[in-house]
Amino acid sequence: MINKNKKVALTGGFAVGEAMTQINPDVMAVYPITPQTPIVEYLARKVANGKADTEMIQVESEHSAMSACIGASASGARTMTASASQGIMYMMEVLPVASAMRLPIVMAVANRAISGPLNIHCDHSDAMAMRDTGWIQIFSENAQEAYDNTFIALKLAEKVLLPATVNLDGFILSHSVENLELLADGLIYKFIGEYQPEQHLLDFEKPKTFGAIALPDSYFEFRKQIYDAMEKARAEFNEITKEFGELSGRKYEQIEACETENAETVIVAMGSTCGTIASVVDKMRAEGKKVGLLKIRLFRPFPYGEVQKALKRIKRVVVMDRNMTFGSQQVLASEVQKALGAELESVIYGLGGRDIYERQIEEIFEGKKDSPYFLM
């Protein structure tokens, strides 16, 4: 029990585990995988100690984990899970089923590179691999955001009836201890409320079929409904984060602009590296250099209008992708270019946990590089 807001130091993984404990979902079906494991470990310990009464389902694979989540969620249970990397790849077959069945499952993803070669360290390849599966995707810069995003994702998912992921950089966030404020249980309860699904399998008064086959006369309509729900998530995200801001004092927008107002060069990025970029921006601003950062928090649906507004007067825009697309422009760079409607520079960095130093960011701010520039 957390009776009043509490300042603690926790790893990002445990912070998300604590958020899940406070949410106390009905079902958590999960298969362990580095660097996600601390999340489920934390919740499992709380359940074993009687601090949460979640039904923990230990499955034999991620495919089964997501399948069990779909079954549980369709039955009307508030359902959560966590995974990363190969786990996401393995559950790929059922990820779009969750969104098509309009199930508000929330999954924490401790972002990790995908094989091959085999690598357990951070990049965003797993999140990018699931970008067209109809899941809402929110990114976190630090443990506080990962914790807060878990509540926001849940409320948003249940509002628009789409599954949602909370992305936190593997190891860099999942395994680093840092300061954060935990919210009192009462505030959380007030924010997320009791889960009362409008439709579910166990409603014997109004029996329904879930996950039926759809022929050419209806499949398209089902897909269009996912599209519309994702579009609806934009405005709902704003409403929900506004309410969360009043509750917690932490205001989250779809993007976060740092010193972009009169900037000449702005770097666009997602995840923990935004912290390093922000530190460089502070140092260079102190030297009178006009640089800024645009952090993308909401990746799906992508905030085109917000990005366009933030970047329209910026002379030089550099987009940093922590993943690699082959034979095409990089993912985040493409999204930002669409928003901006102008040429930009693309940087690929941090693949497979490659370290990133402030001086490298400073060099990017200082002058033009090849595009794409491989920050190896």
Partner: protein, 185 residues
């Protein structure tokens, strides 16, 4: 604080370098500081060289840059001196705290280091006071004395909270005494 204080703890897998980092971070938290503590990422291998990292500041810490030139570098196992080649790159303002029964002069014959060298026989103190070889927490006493980054009493408080239930009052008190001996010596 003028700048972020950075610490590296260098030990062998299983020696508890992660615990050292966590106690420092939790101690700093009691002093309302902002912290960041993380292990060297990857699989854990018993006996292999391992580093853990801590940042402490009085404002929020946003950078995630790897720590390469720390203000304080602690070595839990003196056999690591043979394999680590980075001591000469550490700055003149940094402190190097080594768990060893050798003298400073003897250590300086083995390594090239320009900063403030501190030796403490954390293993010896631990064996004498606790009856076990646990340098990772004992060295905290010397860390507090040398860096003044976290008050001794706060490190002790964190240790007590973390271990009292697990190892009992008697063992906890012995360990705390050992930390205090390392502070005084």
């Amino acid at each position: 604080m003028k700048k972020i204080l950075e610490i590296i703890i260098y030990g062998r897998g299983g020696q508890g370098a992660k615990t050292t980092a966590e106690i420092i971070a939790q101690g700093a938290l009691l002093e309302r500081k902002f912290v960041q503590a993380y292990p060297e990422f990857g699989p854990e291998r018993s006996g292999a060289p391992v580093k853990t990292f801590v940042r402490i500041f009085d404002k929020p810490i946003r950078t995630r840059e790897p720590i390469t030139n720390p203000d304080c570098f602690m070595v839990l196992d003196e056999t690591l001196l043979e394999i680590f080649e980075g001591f000469e790159n550490l700055s003149e303002d940094s402190s190097l705290i080594i768990n060893t029964c050798k003298t400073k002069e003897a250590i300086l014959k083995e390594i090239n280091f320009k900063g403030n060298l501190v030796v403490v026989d954390a293993s010896g103190i631990s064996k004498e006071v606790v009856g076990e070889n646990r340098p990772n927490t004992v060295i905290l006493g010397k860390f507090s004395k040398v860096t003044e980054a976290v008050e001794l009493e706060n490190l002790v408080k964190v240790f007590r909270n973390k271990y009292q239930e697990k190892i009992g009052s008697e063992k906890t008190n012995q360990n705390i005494n050992a930390i205090k001996v390392a502070y005084e010596k």
